[in-house]
């Protein structure tokens, strides 16, 4: 399978600060790839390296089969970018910005442009300064989505959008996905968005990729929370290696269990006699929190 983004061991330093510390990122052609990480983890820096705006201090980065630094302009004809913190020229209207950026990328589809403006309920006649944060974001989104390009690089594209517009954004991305020939690299904080849209995702922390894979892959890494009422005291549960935070009280047990310890844990519950059982499926939230929290296991 070909890769739209192929990043290995990427290093970027700003003076004494190491922003990217041997980062790996692999985005397959045609997929929607979630790019998650806490603030300051290096998401925007990675994207800027991919856009040839910054030069890495080590490692390799390939974008659409080319060198993002040396072939910058040639590659930019094949991609569209939505920056995380968007501001536009105060004396240009939103419509003018959309047209200008589209033309500089090598043309945009006017029908699609107008359709998107309508769906995002954007007034293209306002000038740069008059737009709120959410509306500036819409200008950048329409400019990117109306361009006929292979790769969309979206840096927290829905920040500042209201829930209705977030929904519109999801619909549009899902449509793109169905077309199948566009690759999307989506940096985001909104987990439901990532769950709804992404085929695979990469979680980075302190400039390093800490997890990567499909959502299902990653779910296996998470723990299921079990609460049960038992008819007799349970034996051997505490001894299981995949069981965490076990508490027992008046015949009730509660614990978290790793995916691979689920079966032996349930067996010991059944052996004790189950009166009722509630199991909470692993959520991306939990996965996220585990990696975002500053514990020693997941980072340096």
């Amino acid at each position: 399978m070909t890769e739209a983004v192929d990043v290995d061991g990427l290093i970027k330093r700003f003076g004494a600060v190491t922003a990217l510390d041997e980062l790996d990122l692999h985005v397959r052609t045609g997929e929607v790839h979630g790019f998650l990480g806490p603030n300051g983890a290096g998401k925007t820096t990675t994207i800027r390296v991919l856009l040839g705006l910054m030069r890495p201090d080590g490692g390799t980065a390939r974008l659409l089969g080319g060198d993002p630094w040396a072939d910058a302009t040639a590659l930019h004809r094949r991609l569209a970018y939505v920056p995380g913190d968007v501001t536009f020229w105060p004396n240009l209207t939103g419509g003018e910005v959309i047209d200008l950026l589209g033309r500089l990328r090598g043309g945009l589809d006017p029908k699609r442009r107008n359709d998107l403006i309508e769906r995002f309920e954007l007034d293209p006649r306002k000038k740069g300064r008059a737009y709120s944060k959410g509306n500036r974001q819409k200008v950048a989104l329409v400019a990117a989505l109306a361009s006929d390009v292979e790769l969309l690089i979206l840096d927290e594209p829905t920040s500042g959008l209201d829930p209705l517009m977030e929904e519109v954004f999801r619909e549009v991305i899902l449509q793109e996905k169905r077309r199948g020939d566009r690759t999307v690299l989506l940096s985001s904080h909104i987990l439901s968005e990532v769950e709804a849209l992404c085929d695979r995702l990469t979680i980075i922390r302190a400039g390093r990729a800490v997890e990567t894979g499909t959502l299902d892959d990653l779910r296996h890494l998470t723990r299921t929370t079990i609460r049960a009422e038992l008819t007799s005291p349970v034996n051997g549960l505490a001894a299981l290696s995949g069981v965490h935070d076990l508490s027992t009280e008046d015949g009730r047990v509660a614990f978290d269990v790793d995916a691979d310890a689920l079966e032996p844990a349930l067996k010991s519950l059944v052996a004790a006699g189950v009166r009722s059982l509630v199991s909470q499926p692993p959520s991306l939230e939990e996965l996220f929190l585990r990696h975002y929290a500053t514990d020693e296991r997941s980072g340096r």
Binding site: R77, L104, K126
Partner: protein, 523 residues
Amino acid sequence: MTGAGRLLRLILRRDRITMPLWVFGLGLLPYLYLSAFDTLFATDQERTDYARISAENAGFVALYGPLHGDSTGELVVWRGGFVPVMIGLFALLTVVRHTRADEDAGRTELIRATVVGRHAQLGAALLATGLASLVMGAVVAATMIGAGQPASGSVALGAVFALTGWIFAGVGAVAAQLSGGARGARTIAVLTLGVAYVLRLGGDISALGDGRLEWLSWLSPIGWMHRVFPFGANDWLFVAPAVVLTLVTVAAAAYLSTRRDLGTGLLAARLGPATASPGLRSPVALAWRLHRGLLFGWTAGFAALGLVFGGVGSSVVQLAEDSAGVNEMFSRIGGGDAIVDAYFATVAGMCGLIAACYAVQAALRMRDEEQSGHAEAMLSTDVSRFAWAGSHLLFALLGPAAALLAEGVLAGVVHGDPGPVLGASMAQLPAVWVLAGAAMLLIGVAPKLASAAWGVVAGALLILLVGPLLELDRWVMDLSPFTHVPHLPGADFTPVPLLILTLIAAALGGAGLLALRRRDVPI
């Protein structure tokens, strides 16, 4: 005004480096001049001769203002006649920086949401600038008295310095309310300062000759300040309009600030086109949209300068005919027309320096674009860094050319001898380009220090204005590109220095472009 005290301290903290630089840099200048004059003239006779000739030199009067006496103190005041412009610049930039620029950046919103009165920020900015001007005046008075000058004149000169700061702090405050942003506010305020200077200049030159336009100078606050004549007339009468103007502008700014919403100007924003015109499809087309206001403004300003300079030229011609003594002096250095030629040469040099300000401003627009994230949006499309930077450089190089052309043509036509006058203006262009090239080099190599390009302009200005008097070493004088421009009209035209300047400009700019291509964006 609740909270103004704390905000004042915040301003002093933020400006703890730039403010003392301005205050002491300008405040100590009269003292430096005094020492220079003391060593320059061995005898009183030499000094009075210098004063007599200078008072009738139209180029000198254009630059520094009128001279009516020959005491050392009066010569110091006269020779420092451009200092009020610098003080005005300091005052208005400081006020706009701490009012409108903060508002643009969103800091004002944050501060206004705390326990801070409606007028506290404007008040604190004005107070800080007013205090700094007062300190500057005190430094002037103290150093001049300390050097043995009469106390009355020293205090009057200090008052002139302080009042100039006050007037233009008020101008800056009003400008900050009128426009839609800090950039517009600075433009309005600097334009006002420029108009005040040109009115003063036109009136004073006219007074040398037939005096028909002398009233122009009376319209200008800078003209009022010259008419105090410290160490001479010590005419405190002119302090009154200055104080009144300060109070009026401050009151107007306070009133206007309650008439507008945060983040807007007094003129409501209008809707624009929903689609871009077919031409808006290249970096140059975008640069045209971003630079055209600047280009029209500067070109119109230079056209006005041309009209004034050309119109006043006739007074200089008359002066040359009337004054046998001066004529004789100038005939020694270059014939009968020399006095007129010298005037136009001085004026052309001044225009060159002003055009350099435009060039640097236009080049630094690139840095604004980078910091605001606009460059990122452009450079993530099919636009190379050369194309992006080139689109801005185009205006930094050709914009000043258009402005100088407008000035030269109008001055020449009004004067009645277009060729040489236009030539003198256009000869400045290579030196202007050197400063644009220096700005480009800074943008490429040391982007965080790019605004130091203004320091380069200030350096060239100081070398032109102060250098000869302080008898700076030849090599220091040679640092300014304007030192190498032939003194047209009058002097022989030699293309070699202009060619070398153009090559230096190209080398600086080229190095800057190469560095820009190799570095991270944005920094």
